[in-house]
Symmetry: C2
Subunit: 185 residues, 2 copies
């Protein structure tokens, strides 16, 4: 069976060491010294776990065929030895977003906010895996967890990418966002 | 908190009495005398539960604004006293479907298969609630559970609706489908 579900545990253990955490909108989560990323479901973390976030990779919701081929040809894999920096960005979108129809969401996401093309410009430097949480169950604290990996020399580019996205019309619908930065080791 | 997660339990208990079960494609599930529909998460059913299927209502994936307004104005609520017949139709779609992009899926769903307009023609007779299972976790046995309620006099219309959908191009991607018919009482 292919592994689609991932668990992110903030605590005392894990290969990723926390550098800093910024809460951009909404409630923060506890700042923990390390992060462990585990493939598969986890009911509770080991002793010392402060929080556990889960998400599942899924089919794309917005990209069209040409965009998908373009992404597939350019996006790097996770786990590159030089990509020692990582970011975990949990976000939640508000009820107005989820009340939109597919065509309205695509228009804001792709046409107005250029989300796909913005992301594409930072390839192949930034590796990314998107996890969905909203349909895992009721009461999930976030809708999406996005995991990024990049080399230290690409951190500035990564920050630019986030500024571009966060100033886009799509981000008006984001009502909770945390930006957790990590380093391997 | 609004309730989005529903559990369907086939067993000895529940207000819905099984009339018949047909397996259209893929593996069957055990035929149980009754069905209980419970709002919220259930880890295991009471004694006598033969199977437990779970699904979560979510944002629409394909309808455009005009179609949504049209649906909202015509679709009846669940629980109408005259709607003593029900059907639970769990389906799974194959990997080829999930590998398609949004525009390709919308084209097959709406333009080629007329799924939205076919369903609309049977309103307000047939009440319907769609539950998603695919992103609840790994290894869910179905991708969708659709729940229908209608009056006995509308059963023939309901059967016609299913024939229309099952002969559409979209159904080429369905690799598991069960049709469970029930009556209240």
């Amino acid at each position: 069976m292919d592994t689609r579900l991932f668990s992110f545990m903030g605590g005392d253990a894990g290969v990723w060491k926390t550098l800093r955490m910024e809460t951009l909108v909404g409630s923060p989560i506890p700042l923990m010294p390390r992060l462990d990323v585990v493939s598969g479901p986890v009911n509770e973390g080991p002793r010392g776990t402060g929080w556990l976030l889960r998400g599942i990779t899924s089919n794309e919701r917005y990209v069209h065929r040409g965009e998908k081929e373009d992404l597939l040809s350019k996006q790097p894999r996770l786990g590159r030895p030089e990509a020692t920096c990582a970011a975990l960005i949990p976000i939640r979108k508000n009820a107005a977003w989820w009340g939109l129809t597919q065509d309205e969401r695509r228009k804001i996401f792709a046409e107005q906010s250029d989300h796909i093309r913005i992301g594409m410009r930072y390839l192949p430097a930034i590796a990314r895996r998107l996890h969905h949480c909203r349909d895992l169950g009721e009461g999930e604290p976030f809708d999406f967890l996005t995991w990024f990996e990049y080399a230290p020399s690409d951190e500035e580019a990564f920050d630019d990418l986030l500024v571009e996205l966060r100033t886009s019309p799509e981000w008006k619908y984001v009502d909770r966002e945390i930006d957790l930065r990590l380093i391997r080791g």
